[in-house]
Homo-oligomer: 201 residues x 4
Amino acid sequence: MSDVSTRKADKRTLITDAAIDVFAERGFHQARVSDIARRAGVADGTIYLYFKNKEDLLLSVFEEKMDVLLAGLRVALADTSDPVERVRRFAVFHFRQVRENRTTAEVLQVELRLSNKFLKEYRPEKLWAYLNVFGQIVREGQATSVFRADLDPFVTMWAFFGALDELAMQWVLSRKSDRFDLDVAARQVAEVFIRGMSAAT
Amino acid sequence: MSDVSTRKADKRTLITDAAIDVFAERGFHQARVSDIARRAGVADGTIYLYFKNKEDLLLSVFEEKMDVLLAGLRVALADTSDPVERVRRFAVFHFRQVRENRTTAEVLQVELRLSNKFLKEYRPEKLWAYLNVFGQIVREGQATSVFRADLDPFVTMWAFFGALDELAMQWVLSRKSDRFDLDVAARQVAEVFIRGMSAAT
Amino acid sequence: MSDVSTRKADKRTLITDAAIDVFAERGFHQARVSDIARRAGVADGTIYLYFKNKEDLLLSVFEEKMDVLLAGLRVALADTSDPVERVRRFAVFHFRQVRENRTTAEVLQVELRLSNKFLKEYRPEKLWAYLNVFGQIVREGQATSVFRADLDPFVTMWAFFGALDELAMQWVLSRKSDRFDLDVAARQVAEVFIRGMSAAT
Amino acid sequence: MSDVSTRKADKRTLITDAAIDVFAERGFHQARVSDIARRAGVADGTIYLYFKNKEDLLLSVFEEKMDVLLAGLRVALADTSDPVERVRRFAVFHFRQVRENRTTAEVLQVELRLSNKFLKEYRPEKLWAYLNVFGQIVREGQATSVFRADLDPFVTMWAFFGALDELAMQWVLSRKSDRFDLDVAARQVAEVFIRGMSAAT
DNA sequence: GATGAATGAGGCTTCATTCAT
DNA sequence: TATGAATGAAGCCTCATTCAT
């Protein structure tokens, strides 16, 4: 990689990292481009060399974040094909990401609303890919009769993601002092869904 | 009720109703106060006799609708004390409200969550009251050994709400054509949680 | 005086008194009509039963204040015709008014600027009458060769008033703790002008 | 001075100059920021790169003009240490500035005093520095027994400034036709104060 | 006379984006 | 590539005044 492209990549990363922080702190609409520029240590105009506009910056941030998340999720699920175990790992993985990078949950929240409402034309494929991993787990569980066949994977998938997402948001928003244990929460949510979806009588 | 207070109440309602429509149509940030005023049939300044500012109008919509929602929920749960049945009714009630008040749901689901103030500063007591109804159901189920004792009602409560909320949002944001059946979703989510929380082996 | 007219007079007085306070506190432009109404204990609209508009209220306040001031001044100067003594009494009287009614100085300041600039058509006759008392003292002093004949009474008059007014303003604006002695100031200003205007070698 | 800083300084000056004109013409409250921008030949928003808001623009005009005034005053007094002569030069200098910069004087005399912030919150250090020059003259005169020792320099200083200020305001606000001679006024005010403060019997 | 809810014009200010350097 | 000063559209909100009761 040449010096120039390295520096370019660095600057782009500086901007997206700054953007994640500022979007998480203030939300998309309240975040000012100049805030992001200042935090990234670049000029306002520089942002427009890497991103078409503020909206594009948000989408890029989201896409990059989701790429990392999805890759990590695949690694976390790699060495087991047991649907039950995979559900557990999904929950644990999601909450570990949230804890290790608090802004993840916030950016997801913001994105979830904006991508559908404000940016009508944008389809958050990466988010769907992430969710579909769970949908696929459900389908596999149903195929192997581990999970009840009458469950709609679509409904289950969104319900599961909603549960994780809401808990993540509450954890992020709570004061450090009365912050609950994410590992415990992960296990409990996983168990509720596993038993809830279970085909066993 | 006197004529004056009736008219006053009416004007406030005119404004909140108009606000819900306009917020749902254009989104909070794109909605102009003058649009809301025109739709309500009042002058721009009149809005500021009832609400501190545009954001306060949004939060007031939330407060008012949550009051109605909570009252309705209590009615829906009134004639049964069976925790299992109450979970079912909670889900059914929630989704029925969403379906019957789509624009209101859209504002509460989407626009409200984009308000930085709502997420970061405002303490949504009304939301907590609504959720605690579910928390209470869990505790009663645990007390009667219907639900597993090792579940944290706090975690379960947020997980359940997150599941309902996320599905509601997907339904609200989806195009009419590919809108899924909320009754089915209500039943499935309720069953997953009921079985998931069940103390039975 | 009938009950009605008494009550009417009372209400008018309530409003002007409130207006003096509010104008002094916040200045003419920053003062809100509703603030004055609240302080007076009347409805906003009531003010418009007694005054044409906000501007008219200011002018009325000023006129009334000046009437009182002028009447008081005449009393204070009544029993002496010695120009030197009258200068002393003028200064003492002015500062006594300021001390006994702090808002006097502030209303004068506000008025002085507004009457000339904002209300071009308004001629503050009452202020001129007040000042002309000093102008007349100068002229009498010149006529009796107590004061130098080459002084322009117009210039001297404004200079004297400016000196009094500025000191009054500084006294009003100063914190109670480091507030200087107005009596001393009155005597010193009077002496400076008396000696300064004196015809004696 | 580099090109950039020159241009920046120029733009700031363009704005303050335009502001003085517009404030003088229409008064602070009637002046629209967009008028000032147009007169300065810049965009509305540009003003906010140099000034916090409209009121800050007014106060900045004050600060900048007082700097110039103070520097000029020091030059005017430079080549004499005779307190009597210095009093004369102070008055002459002050009125010369008023005459030569009528619009600036109008803003400083009239508009500034209508600003509540200026009167109540802002500490006009620059004004005090200007006044203290006179206070110092008094003290020097007292030290050399030219002026009476019993005069409070603080009182004398404000009285003198008040006299100059009030006359300046009357001159600025008067119609051209009946505008009095500022040179005569300067001489008369100076003589009144010199004799008034004189230690001689 | 008294009320105070309602009006609505108008302007200050923000901030995403551009472009000359 | 990088800068950051400049732009200017657009909208929230204030508040003097009115008028139906």
